[in-house]
């Protein structure tokens, strides 16, 4: 595994081997299986989540055909976003909340505060405002009327969106697949540590895509071609 024969590096490896680490747990498989047989704690939409897991791949294959849409998918899971397509458009409920522990930051600070690489769309220039939320889980950048959220979109769902018709449109940004939601829709944030979803305001037209591990949602650009141009300029 290690071809290096640097004596200092070898010394560190030997030190590692001589460390007294507690013995590994013995009944881990039982504990994990028991936990897996219980319902997921503190998360809503459990049934839909399971449907989403099963449907996600089929959706990609069949979403292009109207028959496929009707037959399979009411939930689409993409780039850390769970999109629930219901019969009617959602109504705003209560007053909009900010993301958990949201704070303002300079762009450079934000880069240091999160564990994933941030991009800025050249088409928009430097953001007017940058906010870091939920212990570095989400970074939001703001321009006049436009908001770009970046988050780790590879391990869990970060957002839950509720839509009336029409079905979101799947499209390509170069070789990256993306989802375009043209209408107003309800949006919730799912905190990293579990806990209750945070209800945000109604969101405007949104483009969602994934860049490496990072999920991105661009909100507030009404025209899909314009949104694609902005997304393509992200560096």
């Amino acid at each position: 595994m290690n071809s290096s024969d640097d004596p200092f590096e070898a010394e560190l490896r030997a030190l590692g081997e001589s460390l007294h680490v507690p013995p590994p747990p013995t009944a881990m498989a039982d504990r994990v299986l028991t936990a897996l047989r219980e319902p997921e704690p503190k998360r809503r939409f459990t049934t839909k989540r399971l449907v989403a897991v099963l449907a996600a791949f089929l959706v990609v294959l069949v979403a292009a055909t109207p028959q496929g849409r009707a037959a399979v998918a009411e939930v689409l899971r993409f780039a850390g976003v769970e999109i629930e397509v219901g019969g009617s458009a959602p109504l705003p409920s209560g007053s909009p909340s900010p993301l958990p522990s949201e704070t303002s930051a300079a762009l450079a600070e934000a880069r240091g505060a999160v564990a994933f690489p941030l991009v800025v769309p050249a088409a928009l220039g430097e953001p007017d405002q940058v906010r870091v939320a939920d212990g570095g889980q989400v970074v939001s950048m703001y321009w006049d009327g436009i908001r770009l959220d970046q988050y780790d979109g590879s391990l869990r769902e970060v957002w839950h969106k509720q839509l009336g018709d029409p079905y979101p449109q799947q499209l390509w940004l170069g070789t990256t697949s993306a989802v375009w939601i043209p209408q107003q829709h309800g949006i919730e944030y799912l905190p990293a540590g579990g806990g209750n979803p945070v209800s945000l305001r109604l969101a405007g037209p949104t483009l969602i895509w994934q860049h490496g591990r990072v999920g991105l949602r661009l909100e507030g650009v009404p025209d899909v071609e314009e949104a694609k141009k902005i997304a393509a300029s992200a560096r």
Binding site: L12, L15, P22, P25, M28
Partner: protein, 187 residues
């Protein structure tokens, strides 16, 4: 192993069966990777919570198995979840302090299963360990992954979720700092 036993499942076979809902296949993966997952959690600073961190990581890994890319290796993907869970568990309560307690503990003479502890008690080893403990977070994590867990650069990059170039530079800076620290104290 008895010659009549069926060959053990490869990781990929076990992942495939787990995706099809076969919990027994997932159990095989849990058994296979519990030790390294636990060591990773402990050495990245999970301390007393290492067992809970490992359990949660295996549960999350199962629930997100669809997002695992089948053409890549399971072990670093799992360890990345372990590292994330370790961060989650330690974030709220001063991770540096916690880690120093945990590493302090490893310097005590171990039980009978650990005859090598006498070596750790050596001055130089103790100083080196203290110097690792004092490294900036990112350098310490890279050094722990590369040398204490003996992961490759590529695995370390995946576990720490950063480019390989960052692993190289963090390791390089960490090693330089450690050498300086240990040499300085020899004078």
């Amino acid at each position: 192993m008895n010659a009549d036993d069926p060959p053990p499942l490869t990781d990929d076979e076990a992942v495939g069966r787990s995706l099809a809902g076969d919990l027994t296949a997932y159990e095989a993966l849990v058994t296979r990777y519990t030790a390294i997952a636990h060591r990773t959690a402990f050495l990245l600073g999970a301390g007393d919570e290492a067992e809970d961190v490992v359990q949660e990581a295996f549960v999350k890994a199962y629930r997100h198995l669809r997002s695992f890319r089948r053409d890549s290796a399971f072990r670093p993907w799992l360890l990345r979840i372990v590292a994330n869970e370790t961060h989650n568990a330690t974030r709220s309560r001063g991770r540096r302090a916690d880690l120093s307690v945990r590493l302090e503990a490893v310097r005590k003479p171990g039980g009978p299963e650990d005859p090598q502890d006498t070596a750790v008690a050596g001055d130089r080893s103790a100083r080196l360990l203290a110097a690792v403990r004092a490294l900036p977070d990112r350098e310490r994590e890279a050094v722990v992954c590369r040398y204490f867990l003996q992961l490759s650069e590529a695995e370390t990059a995946e576990v720490l979720d950063c480019p390989i170039g960052s692993v190289k530079s963090r390791t390089h800076r960490g090693l330089r700092r450690l050498r300086e620290e240990v040499d300085r104290e020899l004078l």
